[in-house]
Symmetry: C2
Subunit: 227 residues, 2 copies
């Protein structure tokens, strides 16, 4: 009964009327018309957050990279491809948002040149020149009227250290950290565990399905928003 | 009626007892535990070829990169990730095959170093060092007891020139060429058109769904096999 108390079904309306922008999925950084760099993000966590936030009464905008999931009902879903597309879509929709949850796995680097025609195989070795993409969540956290901003950190090592560094460096209000590349949980999985940090606080959510985990995280966000 | 005569349903058994190895889908070339280079191949053409070949009486082995399609019934499906994995799986299963159809979009290049931990964002610019992967279809066509070997060419320009060059250079028995990056057809699509070339011959299959196109191509292969 105690565990069941922290889910969307039993917490109706705790985000009533709040405007939430959520990013989800991977991005695709094109090399040419057919090839691209991407990552293992399935979008499941971001989509679960969008669905559960809507059930908790929020007005949800979901900016999603290419995934195989269906757009959630009653959610304004905006489909994008690259990190640059996602940056533009987020900036276009950020005004008036109360909360921003950056659950997408945005590419850190993108090719300097996109070839207009398919690259032909030639040399034995080749080099790909990449440059940094714009940091979406950090850009949001720097805005004058910034929303309550939550980032994600998916790490293969030094989880707490990297998450706390990201929280402070990007001036986030909260960061949700999870292991990737482990046996259970992470990108390809229906389940996950989260270690959540904010200024002077932290909370652990143990391994559970992403729908339930999304509810738990949203309840925590609603608490911290009023704190 | 004439058009309907060239499909799998009305040509039962034309590949009866033939052993066919088909590759399908993209490959994923890892940069680190979460990031990779891939391409827009959906695997639909290769999976349609596997299904239709099985219906035409063939014993089918399908070596597939990561796709969202279900393994076809009565087909020996081998799932792989990288170009190197696909090469190994094809070599393991090639002995005794009568026909090899290389429908996969195999990466031409793969990272020289795969990072064991997730790469951290640092410099403004970075370089990715890549080297050539092994050419699977050319390796098969060089075998002493080589099967009847069909390659694919997906091009954004110079379709005929690139296809004929590939046919000769890789010593293929046949090549099926198609445009990609057009409005209709190609990687992401349920439909496609093919321009097929072999020594002293060619045939055009106009835009149709990939299941039907697979039957048409297999009927042509069966004819050329006996020629």
């Amino acid at each position: 009964a105690i565990l069941q108390s922290i889910n969307a079904h039993s917490s109706p309306g705790i985000l009533q009327g709040k405007k939430i922008l959520i990013t989800a999925g991977p991005t695709r950084e094109r090399l040419d018309p057919v090839r691209y760099i991407t990552n293992r993000s399935s979008g499941k966590m971001g989509y679960a957050l969008a669905e559960q936030a809507q059930k908790l009464g929020a007005l949800v905008t979901l900016v999603s990279g290419p995934v195989t999931l269906s757009a959630p009902e009653y959610v304004n879903t905006v489909l994008v491809e690259s990190a640059a597309d996602m940056y533009d879509a987020v900036m276009k929709h950020i005004a008036g948002q109360d909360i921003m949850i950056a659950a997408a796995a945005v590419a850190d680097y993108t090719p300097v040149h996109v070839q207009e025609e398919k690259i032909k195989k030639q040399n034995e070795q080749t080099e790909l020149h990449l440059h940094k993409t714009k940091d979406i969540v950090a850009s949001i956290a720097r805005l004058k009227n910034k929303p309550f901003t939550i980032g994600f950190a998916a790490e293969t090592q030094h989880l707490e250290q990297y998450a706390l560094d990201k929280l402070q460096r990007k001036k986030l209000d909260m960061i949700a950290a999870n292991w990737v590349g482990q046996v259970e949980g992470g990108f390809d999985s229906a389940v996950n565990a989260l270690q959540v940090y904010w200024k002077n606080g932290q909370k652990t959510f143990t391994m559970t399905d992403k729908t339930r985990l999304a509810s738990q995280l949203l309840v925590l966000i609603a608490e911290r928003l009023d704190a």
